[in-house]
C-alpha cells in the first residue's frame, strides 16, 4: 500500500465520518433528552434535498451566484426543513405521546420519500439524470483554509483540505460534550432524559427541554444531509437514498460513542475507515479473506466489508453492557414518553 493510498483512505474516511458525525451529534442531543429519533436518516435526507433545492433555485435565478448567499440560502433551507421535521417528531411523541420507534421509522420513510420525490423533480427541471449540479454552492462549501491547506505538504493533505463544515462539526461535538457535562442547562437536559419525573419535580420544564432537544438535534443531524449533497457528492443528486444508509450508521454511532459526543470525533472517522476498507484493502489480504470465507465475487466481499461498522457497534454494545458501568449506559428513560399525572 502506497502513501498516496493511505492518504486517500484517510480523506475518504474523514469525509464519510463528517456526514455521520452530524447525524450522531444531533441524535445524541435528542437521545440525551430521552427522545429516540429513528427518523434521523429521514431527517438527513430532508436536509439534503432542502439544501439542494434552495441552492438550485438560487443558482438558476442569478447569472453569477454569490458564494455567501449560496451558503446562507442552502443552510437556512436545510435548517428550517429539518427543524420542522424535528418539531413534528416532537409534537407526535412529546405532546401526543406516540410511540417513538414507530414515529421515528415513519419519519425516515417520510423524509426519504419526500427527498426522492423532489429530487426527481429537480433532476427533471435540470434536464435529466446526472444533469443536476449546484456547482457554485458546492464550491463554497468545499472552500478550504488558505495557506494551511496548500503550503504544509502532507500535513495540509491530511488535516486542512476538507470543506469547512468538517471543522464546524468537530467543534460542535466538543462543545456539546462541554454543554452536557459542564453547564447547568446540560445537567437539566440530561436529567430529563434520565428521569423526567425527577426533573419535573425539580422544577425543570420537561416538555420545553424535550422539544428544544429534538428540534435542535434534528437541525444538526440535517446538516449531515447538506454536507453529503454539497461536499460528499459535490453538489449533485441521485435518487439512491445514499444519505439514508449513512443515517442508520449515524444512529449506530450514537450507541458506539456511549452517548458521549467527544467519542464521535474519532468514532465517526473509525466508521469511515471501516466502511472504505473494501477499496483500500491490499489485494493479497483480500484474496486470502475471500478464500477463507469461500466468497467468489469481489462485490460480495465488498458488502461483507461494509458490515464492519455495524459489527463494531455490536461488539462495543456487548462490551459496554457486560462491564455494566452505569455512566456508559443509554439515558434511562430513552424511548418513553412522559406524562406527569400517570402513576
Amino acid at each position: 500500500m502506497t502513501l498516496d493510498m493511505i492518504i486517500a483512505w484517510i480523506t475518504a474516511a474523514v469525509t464519510f465520518g463528517t456526514v455521520i458525525m452530524f447525524g450522531c451529534v444531533g441524535e445524541t442531543l435528542n437521545e440525551k433528552a430521552g427522545g429516540l429519533n429513528l427518523g434521523t436518516p429521514g431527517v438527513m435526507m430532508l436536509g439534503g434535498i432542502a439544501s439542494l433545492a434552495g441552492a438550485f433555485f438560487y443558482e438558476k435565478s442569478v447569472a453569477v451566484p454569490n458564494p455567501i448567499l449560496c451558503v446562507l440560502i442552502s443552510l437556512i433551507s436545510c435548517l428550517v426543513a429539518t427543524a420542522l421535521a424535528g418539531l413534528l417528531y416532537g409534537f407526535l411523541t412529546i405532546t401526543l405521546r406516540a410511540n417513538q420507534n414507530v414515529t421515528g421509522l415513519t419519519l425516515t420513510m417520510f423524509g426519504t420519500g419526500i427527498a426522492n420525490f423532489f429530487g426527481g423533480s429537480l433532476v427533471k427541471l435540470s434536464g435529466g439524470v446526472g444533469q443536476i449540479s449546484v456547482a457554485a454552492t458546492s464550491k463554497a462549501f468545499k472552500a478550504t483554509m488558505p495557506i494551511l491547506s496548500t503550503k504544509l505538504g502532507i500535513v495540509s493533505q491530511l488535516l486542512f483540505k476538507y470543506g469547512w463544515l468538517t471543522y464546524v462539526i468537530l467543534a460542535l461535538a466538543f462543545a456539546m460534550q462541554y454543554f452536557f457535562n459542564k453547564t447547568r442547562t446540560g445537567l437539566n437536559l440530561r436529567s430529563v432524559g434520565e428521569n423526567p419525573a425527577t426533573a419535573d419535580a425539580a422544577g425543570i420544564n420537561v416538555t420545553l427541554y424535550k422539544y428544544m432537544a429534538c428540534t435542535i438535534g434534528s437541525a444538526i443531524a440535517g446538516l449531515g444531509g447538506l454536507y453529503y449533497v454539497m461536499d460528499y457528492v459535490k453538489g449533485t443528486w441521485s435518487n439512491d437514498s445514499g444519505i439514508e444508509a449513512l443515517g442508520w450508521l449515524a444512529v449506530a454511532l450514537v450507541i458506539f460513542t456511549s452517548w458521549k459526543p467527544k467519542n464521535a470525533t474519532w468514532g465517526a472517522y473509525l466508521f469511515g475507515f471501516c466502511y472504505w476498507i473494501y477499496l483500500y484493502i491490499p489485494a493479497g489480504i483480500n484474496s486470502m479473506l475471500m478464500k477463507l470465507f469461500k466468497v467468489t465475487r469481489t462485490t460480495y466481499m465488498q458488502n461483507l466489508y461494509k458490515m464492519i461498522p455495524y459489527i463494531v457497534t455490536i461488539i462495543v454494545l456487548v462490551l459496554v453492557s457486560s462491564r455494566n458501568k452505569r455512566d456508559n449506559q443509554a439515558p434511562q428513560s430513552l424511548g418513553t414518553s412522559y406524562f406527569r399525572e400517570e402513576r
Binding site: T185, N188, A197, T198, A201, A202, Q329
Partner: protein, 509 residues
C-alpha cells in the same frame, strides 16, 4: 388567622376519571410541628400532598400558604412557596452525583462552579446532623443515603414545609431513629413537617398532631398526646378492628422441606447464603428474620431454583402425594412439573411477581397457560379465578383487565398473594409480603397466611417488622450474614433476643 399556620387546605377535591381521590378535604399544617397524615391505602393521603407539591392540581378547593391564597401549578411553584416533598419513590438521577442532584433545576448563580453549592450543602449537613459525600454517585448509595440526599435537596431549595411520603418504609430501625432525630431538629428549627404514614407506632413516636383520611374524606385531626393506637385505627378504618394476629397451634405436622448445607454465592463470589440448614413442616409459619440483605431473598430463590446453589447443598421435598424429591439441580419449571407446590411471592412485586401492563385475568393466566389444550388460550377459567380473588380479597380495580401496575401497592400484593394461594400450594414462601402496605391490608395478608397454615400448608414468612414476626411465626429463623444464627420458638422469643441475633453472629459458628 393563627400565625403558626403554614398551610391551610380548604375543601380540596381531586378526581382521576371516575375515581374520587379526595373529596372536600380541609386541614392545617403548622410550623414548629410534625403532622402525621394517617390513612389506609387509597385513602388519598399521598394525592392531597401531591397537590401541595405541584404534582397534581386540585379540581376544586383553595390552598393558603402563610395566609395567602395560592395556585400551585407545578413543582417549581411549590419550591417557590417553600414546600418540598420527599416522595416514596425517590426522585433522584442515578448517574448524577449527590451535588448534581441537589442543584438540578436551579438557576445558575455561581458560574459553572459547584463550589458554593458544596459549601451550602455542608452547612445544611452540619446544622441538622446529616452525613453525606457530595461527590458520591446515587447508584452507589444505600436507600437511607438516598433519602438523606432527598431531604438535603429540599432544604437546599429553602423549604420551610417538608412533606415526607412513607419515609420509613424501607429503613432499618436504626436508620429510622436517625431520621426521626433529624426531623425533630428541623421541627425545633421552626419548620413544618408532614409525614404520610400508616405505621401507628411511628405516628405515636414522632408526631405532634395526626390528621386522618379515609376513602378520600377528611375524618379528623387529633393531638397525638391525647390519643392512642386503638382510637387512631378506628378513625382510619371506620370500624373496630383487633390488632391481634390469631396464631393457632396445629398439632399435626409433617416434614415438608429439608434444607441441608445450602450455600449460594453471588456474582462476586461472596457467600450470600452460607451453609443454611433447617426443616420446614406443614401447619407452621416459619418466620425468617434478619437485617435487609442478609441472604433472605437468595435463600428463597435458591429453594425455588432461581439461583444455583453451590455443590453440597441439598433441598429435599417431602410430599404426601408425590413422594420425595431433591430440588437442587431442577429448574423452576421442573419443580412445578414434578407436582411440587411451592408458591413464591417475590420481593419485587411488579418486577418478578406480576406483569404490570397486564390485567388481573392475564396475570392469573400467566401461571397456568401450560395447562390449556391446543394453541389457544382459555381465558374463561382464569377470569373466574380473578373474580374470586377480587371478591374474596376485596381488590379495588376498575376492571379485571385494568393494568395492575396502576393499582395501589396493597391491591397489587393482594392479586399476587391471591394468585399464589389459588394454586393450592403445600409450601408457600413469601418475602416482604406486607412491605409498604397499610394496617388493614397487612392484617388481611396475615390472616390469609394463617388460613393457609390451618389448611396444612408450610408457610415461610420473610419479614421486616419484628413485632409481626413474633406474633405470626411458630418458629423464627434468624439470618445473619447469610448464616443461620439461631432458630427460636415464636411464642417464647422476645424482640431483643431476635434483634441481637440479627446483628451479632454467635461465637464458634
Amino acid at each position: 388567622m393563627d400565625n403558626n399556620c403554614a398551610v391551610q387546605l380548604k375543601d380540596i377535591t381531586k378526581t382521576f376519571g371516575a375515581v374520587v381521590a379526595n373529596e372536600n378535604v380541609s386541614f392545617d399544617i403548622r410550623k414548629h410541628e410534625v403532622l402525621a397524615i394517617l390513612g389506609e391505602n387509597g385513602s388519598g393521603k399521598t394525592t392531597v400532598m401531591n397537590m401541595l407539591a405541584g404534582i397534581y392540581y386540585p379540581d376544586s378547593g383553595e390552598i393558603f400558604v402563610n395566609g395567602n391564597l395560592v395556585s400551585i401549578k407545578d413543582p417549581k411553584d411549590a419550591y417557590d412557596l417553600g414546600i418540598g416533598m420527599i416522595h416514596q419513590h425517590y426522585k433522584l438521577i442515578d448517574v448524577f452525583s449527590a451535588l448534581e442532584n441537589i442543584v438540578l433545576g436551579l438557576k445558575n448563580t455561581d458560574g459553572n462552579d459547584l463550589e458554593s453549592a458544596r459549601k451550602r450543602v455542608n452547612e445544611i449537613c452540619s446544622r441538622y446532623g446529616f452525613d453525606i459525600d457530595p461527590d458520591m454517585k446515587v447508584y452507589d448509595m444505600t436507600v437511607s443515603q438516598k433519602q438523606t440526599l432527598e431531604i438535603i435537596k429540599v432544604l437546599y431549595r429553602g423549604a420551610e414545609i417538608l412533606i415526607l411520603d412513607e419515609p420509613t418504609a424501607v429503613l432499618t430501625p436504626q436508620e429510622t431513629s436517625r431520621l426521626f432525630n433529624v426531623l425533630r431538629n428541623m421541627r425545633d428549627d421552626g419548620k413544618a413537617i408532614v409525614i404520610i404514614t400508616h405505621k401507628l407506632n411511628e405516628v405515636m413516636e414522632i408526631s405532634d398532631r395526626v390528621t386522618i383520611l379515609r376513602k378520600g374524606q377528611y375524618i379528623g385531626t387529633v393531638n397525638t398526646s391525647e390519643t392512642n393506637p386503638q382510637q387512631l385505627t378506628e378513625m382510619m378504618v371506620g370500624e373496630k378492628i383487633t390488632l391481634d394476629i390469631n396464631r393457632d397451634f396445629i398439632e399435626e405436622k409433617h416434614l415438608r422441606l429439608e434444607v441441608k448445607n445450602l450455600t449460594v454465592k453471588n456474582i462476586e463470589g461472596k457467600k450470600v447464603v452460607d451453609d443454611v440448614t433447617f426443616n420446614l413442616y406443614s401447619g407452621e409459619v416459619l418466620g425468617i428474620a434478619g437485617i435487609s440483605g442478609s441472604g433472605q431473598k437468595e435463600l428463597l430463590e435458591a429453594i425455588m431454583g432461581l439461583q444455583k446453589p453451590e455443590p453440597g447443598s441439598s433441598v429435599v421435598y417431602y410430599s404426601t402425594a408425590h413422594g420425595v424429591h431433591e430440588l437442587v439441580g431442577l429448574s423452576t419449571k421442573e419443580i412445578i412439573s414434578h407436582g411440587l407446590h411451592l408458591a413464591f411471592v417475590p420481593e419485587d412485586r411488579l418486577g418478578m411477581g406480576l406483569v404490570g401492563n397486564m390485567g388481573m385475568t392475564d396475570n392469573v393466566l400467566l401461571k397456568r397457560y401450560r395447562k390449556g389444550k391446543g394453541p389457544l388460550l382459555h381465558r374463561q377459567q382464569p377470569m373466574q379465578t380473578a373474580i374470586k380473588i377480587k371478591d374474596e380479597l376485596d381488590v379495588k380495580t376498575p376492571s379485571l383487565d385494568y393494568p395492575v401496575r396502576k393499582l395501589s401497592g396493597g391491591n397489587v400484593q393482594k392479586v399476587l398473594v391471591g394468585r399464589e394461594i389459588n394454586n393450592k400450594p403445600t409450601v408457600l414462601m413469601t418475602a416482604y409480603a406486607v412491605r409498604g402496605l397499610d394496617i388493614n391490608t397487612s392484617y388481611a395478608i396475615y390472616n390469609l397466611l394463617n388460613e393457609q397454615k390451618k389448611r396444612g400448608v408450610a408457610v415461610v414468612y420473610v419479614g421486616e417488622d419484628l413485632d409481626v414476626l413474633l406474633a405470626l411465626s411458630d418458629r423464627i429463623l434468624v439470618l445473619c450474614n447469610g448464616k443461620v444464627n439461631g432458630i427460636l420458638d415464636g411464642r417464647t422469643a422476645n424482640k431483643e433476643e431476635v434483634g441481637l441475633l440479627m446483628t451479632h453472629l454467635k461465637e464458634g459458628e
